[in-house]
Symmetry: D2
Subunit: 336 residues, 4 copies
């Protein structure tokens, strides 16, 4: 049994963390912090958690006495609290972008400000860093697009089958967070599809850095907002350097992911669906079709709030504390 | 004043044709045919056309006595009736894929059957064939994806700035037609994004053939179904052969389309929206962003049933009969 | 030809007014005002109006020199500017709630503040006030729910067939306006249905007062927000005082609305659809079913931004200035 | 540990049953039958159940050797197989309408055909029949609308506070089942709200019969289809016979449901949301507002596939076999 705190528990990822941790037999939630909602029962913000008897508290991160703290705080905010949490002896899974980069220069270039507390962290994508995560004190939980994009690309990059990737992602609106904006105003995003941060999204360098460790590859990335609540469908286009078949490609993926508890490799021409993974920690990967120009199409689906955020964070916790990997996050998707 | 017939008037494109033609001061609709709905008032099928006092009739295409016939019939069906309509002396705008290809071998390869009546037709994309359309007896109305994809790519292909295009399109469900299927079942396509015909869609060779007339280019194409009723958002990814700026690219588009009544070139980094063109015959083109790898992103939006089908068909009619180009199809989009 | 100004032109109703007036052969738009967007081309706010070459201006309402001014301003704001506009000699169609009530005490009770400039106005529902509107200087454009609710109820109230109405309305999100809020945040309203202001909505007394002029009736009203962009579906439940048939009821509606250009009475058991009226000024009324308890169900559909707001405002203008009633607002719905 | 079979496992309710039973520590699924999909792995039909290693089988219901059989078969089909399953010694939870009525004359009137095997069954709404369910061999699982409608009305009917109910329900499209139809075609139900079976829905007499056991009440019911995948929001309008307050009403509900594991009574004016119960077996009940006419509004939300079907069926199983009531169905909702 470990004691766990959640800093910034009023957002969508906070709500998901609370739900998963509530079902975890070896976890006791000792605090869910929120400055804005201090003293408010969590179900006023997370209406589906009516049966959890917890209130938001306004505790200074450094005053938490926990074995593990999840920091579900914005970019730029995490770096200000993670060091003091580590000093209390707690381990940390940070859900912001602050500790995802090995190269802090890249961070500063793309996030546009100075990193005040660069620390050594482990990038928490279990499929590439399982062993390092087990021993880590600070795990940087991956971005949602990188999770879907890296998993869809990793086997072909590792095998050296491609050197250029065009990643065209379609994200549900919950990815934009809990705060209403022009972009998330129903009449603006319903019945619409919007490319955004077309060549400047911060998840691009994250994908580039991580895949770069596995092969020489040039990543181009464009996200789109689609009228979907949860889920990211990522389409990876790449030109094969060798004349191989779809069956061969599928085999490469099968081998690469054969022991992974949360990655499922579909059949050739089988299309991953968002409902297949909705509410679940799974990533489905499929298509593997190749056109006359030698372009390979691989598509992946994840739930951006689960495998793309809180589910993966709990997966990291399970690894860090030696719990069964799938504990509390083994539910299947929701279709329809 | 011309007399116009619509063969296959019970589908979505038939409904749009009826609506546009009803507003056209120089057109009299003499027949709207449907075998299935013979004798039924059109508003039982097209509930928004309650004020048009027309019934579906089951007339043999060769018995129509019209100046112009729109054939809104499926692939493979049009080729069986277009020749007999032409023999009556009527001119034809065909909305199927049957007459879109110059090279009938390509047609037969991708459509999977023998073309029984190959005829010389003009490809009805006014932006490339305006003059030929004026004199044509048979105009092949372009596919919806090719309309959005070609218009988004034409200027850079013409200028020789690129040699490879990856076209990633997102289409509303009305593009799948009026007939309910697994794919169009609400619980299957709501809250979902589905790539389909990932490397095998018939609109790919259509885009390839038409763009190929303007430059040496290799087209890769993947469509996606998105939970939107009307509209196609097309994202064109390409690697620039020269080091030019976004402003330069925008200028190329501005010049190319400066006299076009239905194409609007947006600002650099401005994103085309589906509501901007919903219900209208416009095509909006924007983005023009370039990333560090020299990848250019251009995005276009159209209403698949208007600029992607019936509006463009009326545009072709206006050209063929010397009417003002924008007559009856000059309405603006619908936002929100 | 008349000169028309729009005060508060940056909201959804402003956008619709601009679009309709732009197509009106006897109207010149002399000003579209907005404090927030002064100097900005309207298409930056209304992306579908790219082809209208107009900028928002920050003009004091009293400085407008127009024949007619539409005030698309919030409740409480209209009352402050309408008097000074009237003093310039212009006539006014006000789209707020400020001048909808004959009884200003009712207004003050339900709107919660003192009315500073109570004036004599005509309630602009042409179906009940056509002649008075023609001669009016100040027309109060009806609320969206009252438009759909009154039209669905008027014939049976006039005939004295019912004395109690339960009006259960389902509204699209554009009715909540252009400003993002918790309620309009996509993840909150997508895949959801929310009753709101369940017994306290300001449109209830408006419906009550207007129907009360036609018969002794007690109105209960509850609106719901549904994941739809445009449109209101109103279901009116009432217990018939006499044992009459559905056919009889339909006849009552047919007779009542037989000369109305924008009301369509459907068949018994025929259900009005939102797409039938989307983007149009029509109101469709149908159902007329009666259950074993003598409960009658009548349902109506309107586009909340057109018949429920800007289209009806233009209809009022047409009446006030002797233009053809349907000028510029005669387009049909958009299905799908 | 019991052995359980599911007859008709390829529909949405079959998929939900499979998912819940898979998580039940005391259940072994011995068969999932489907004639259409014989030999097909279930994940080809239920893409979210990829990790369950089960194939559909075509077994005659009478050949099943189970402790419990769920019959997720259509109305009229269940009555043909339930008797032979009971003869094998298995107990049955039937999800069709065939055994929901005490009065088979009412069944035959509303379902339009003769019941060939009328049997004594227990109506499986645990909130009213908990004890009878424990001992039953045949449980008739309630309809989705009756579940939401009865639970929202039961306390005030029991207390004799009302004598007439107008139940206006809004249902997600998954309620129409897995088979594509005109009604479920995305372009028809997206951006639309449709009343249907306005005075003739078969769930009306079901609600009437069950509530009638608790008080003298007249039920009027109208369902609507809304563009939502899962969920039913039910609005109950009724005129109070006595002058009581909202707080009093809430107290009545609190007392009535105080020991219920799956019913949650919200605060006065608090609105139940579909996301609060999505994927869960909860029913949320709220509003309790009263207007000037003495009309009370109570609203309830359920997931039509869980509390409205498969979750409730598992709840019934838990009762029948003495398992903990919430076993395998205790997950919380999914928001957003």
């Amino acid at each position: 049994m470990i004691e766990v705190g959640i800093v910034g528990a009023s957002g969508y990822t906070g709500g998901e963390l609370l739900k998963f941790l509530n079902n975890h037999p070896q976890v006791e939630i000792i605090a869910a912090t929120s400055r804005q909602f201090e003293g408010v029962p969590i179900h006023k913000v997370h209406p589906h958690l009516r049966d959890m008897n917890i209130q938001f508290e306004n505790i200074q991160p450094g005053d938490l006495d926990a074995d593990l703290v999840f920091t579900a705080t914005p970019h730029g905010a995490s770096m200000k609290i993670v060091p003091e949490i580590l000093e209390t002896g707690a381990r940390v899974v940070d859900l912001s972008g602050d500790y995802r980069f090995d190269d802090y220069d890249v961070y500063e270039k793309w996030y546009g400000f100075k990193h005040t507390h660069p620390l050594k962290a482990v990038y928490g994508l279990p499929e590439i860093n399982r062993e390092k995560i087990r021993g880590a004190d600070l795990v940087a939980n991956p971005g949602c697009f990188p999770t879907g994009g890296i998993l869809a690309s990793l086997p072909i990059v590792s095998e050296g089958l491609v050197d250029t990737l065009i990643i065209d992602s379609k994200s549900g609106v919950s990815g934009a967070g809990v705060k209403p904006t022009e972009k998330t105003h129903y009449p603006n995003c319903s019945d619409n599809v919007s490319p955004y941060a077309v060549t400047s999204h911060r998840h691009m360098p994250e994908i580039q850095e991580k895949l770069g460790n596995f092969g020489d590859v040039r990543v181009s990335f464009t996200p789109h907002l689609v009228p979907v609540t949860r889920g990211i469908l990522t389409t990876v286009h790449s030109f094969l350097k060798e004349d191989v078949s779809s069956d061969y490609i599928k085999e490469v993926y099968d081998n690469f992911y054969k022991d992974e508890p949360f990655v499922r490799v579909l059949d050739v021409s089988e299309v991953p669906g968002l409902s297949s993974v909705r509410g679940s920690n799974y990533c489905h990967i499929g298509c593997f079709d190749i056109d006359e120009n030698g372009r390979l199409v691989v598509a992946s689906s994840i739930d951006n709030l689960v495998k793309g955020a809180s589910g993966q964070a709990v997966h990291n916790m399970n690894l860090m504390f030696g719990f069964p990997e799938t504990e509390a996050i083994d539910q299947m998707g929701m279709h329809p």
